[in-house]
């Protein structure tokens, strides 16, 4: 069986993501349930990468077979990744803003209760 670069890189990335999730479980930063969901998600991606034939039914439905379409689908994938990255960044910024506002409110409590 001959593997493409994609079929080697994707399982490695998937393995790293799964290992990262379980590492967080051992550090008690992630619940067992979340790690299972994460494992199922990445396991699915790895399975599709290694056995692309499992998506044959999709090509039957959509008819994506030629190179042009493959480029299009890849571009959509990249764009989706960028959107995902931006959502994560916005979430992080929102959380930072909330932390600042909460700290200001608590500073007020410290003043009221005579703590510094």
């Amino acid at each position: 069986m001959e593997f493409t670069a994609y079929q080697i890189i994707t399982p490695l990335a998937g393995f790293l993501a799964i290992a990262y999730a379980w590492n967080l479980v051992f550090k008690q930063k992630k619940t067992l349930w979340e790690a299972i969901l994460w494992t199922v998600f990445w396991g699915g991606i790895v399975a599709i990468a290694i056995y692309p034939d499992s998506l044959d039914y999709l090509t039957q439905i959509t008819g994506i077979k030629d190179r042009e379409n493959a480029v299009l689908v890849t571009t959509i994938g990249v764009l989706l990744f960028i959107v995902f990255y931006l959502i994560v960044r916005i979430e992080a910024l929102e959380q930072r803003q909330t932390r600042v506002i909460r700290k200001l409110a608590l500073k007020d409590l410290d003043k009221k209760s005579g703590r510094n």
Partner: protein, 222 residues
């Protein structure tokens, strides 16, 4: 045991004073977190005898609750009660929520608005049911009324709770925390009073969808 009530409030000037006055007899201190209100919520809460903390901008019920919990810890709380500022909860249910905490049989008591006969509109029942299902999908733990803001935290939960979600998703996050830290939990049937105001103020469908997506995204990204 020092009991402190935490009440997150946003534009509840007409109601928060009554809530504080009702809750007073069951707790040692009351903290109202004014979440960037544009009305006189803070003034009414202060007049009613609460300690008031103010967010300079509206951050959401989750952020306000966590600010209140942090403040309660600073003030030495061993038990924390959280409840809404819109008069939908009955303070008479507080002793029932506190009982299993005081007897050290649970670490967190969830009020259950569906555990007794309450007049709850069908659409509310449906949305809360969906909230329960999403919460179960995200946390693996079933709670009969996961989206209710009325809860009692025991000493272990007070020490460990750490909410990062700012909006209404925090209710799901509390269930997640209870699963992660293996808190002993219970449901206590509680009264709910839906007024025209409360119903009008409730979450819209689009808000519910946004909340659900945030829950799933956050639980995935953690």
């Amino acid at each position: 045991m020092k009991i402190i009530a935490v009440i997150p409030a946003y534009n509840e000037g007409r109601r928060v004073g009554n809530v504080v006055a009702d809750v007073k007899k069951y707790v040692d201190e009351i903290i109202v977190v004014d979440d960037g209100s544009t009305d006189d919520t803070a003034d009414f809460a202060k007049k009613a005898g609460a300690i008031v903390l103010q967010h300079i901008e509206n951050c959401g019920a989750g952020a306000a609750t966590m600010t209140g919990i942090d403040a309660a810890r600073v003030l030495g709380a061993q038990i924390i009660i959280t409840l809404d500022a819109d008069e939908q909860h009955s303070s008479d249910d507080i002793p029932a929520l506190l009982e299993p905490i005081k007897s050290d049989t649970v670490d967190i008591a969830f009020a259950n608005r569906f555990g007794r006969r309450n007049r709850i509109p069908f659409i509310r029942r449906l949305f809360n049911g969906l909230g329960n299902v999403i919460t179960f999908a995200a946390t693996g733990k079933w709670v009969s009324d996961s989206q209710c803001g009325f809860k009692a935290f025991g000493p272990k939960a007070v020490g460990q709770v750490d909410l990062r979600m700012s909006g209404y998703e925090f209710c799901t996050e509390i269930v997640r925390e209870s699963a992660q830290h293996r808190w002993r939990t219970t449901d206590i049937p509680a009264k709910v009073i839906y007024s025209e105001y409360t119903l009008a103020k409730g979450q819209s469908f689009s808000n519910g969808i946004r909340t659900a997506l945030k829950i799933l995204l956050r639980s995935f990204l953690r």
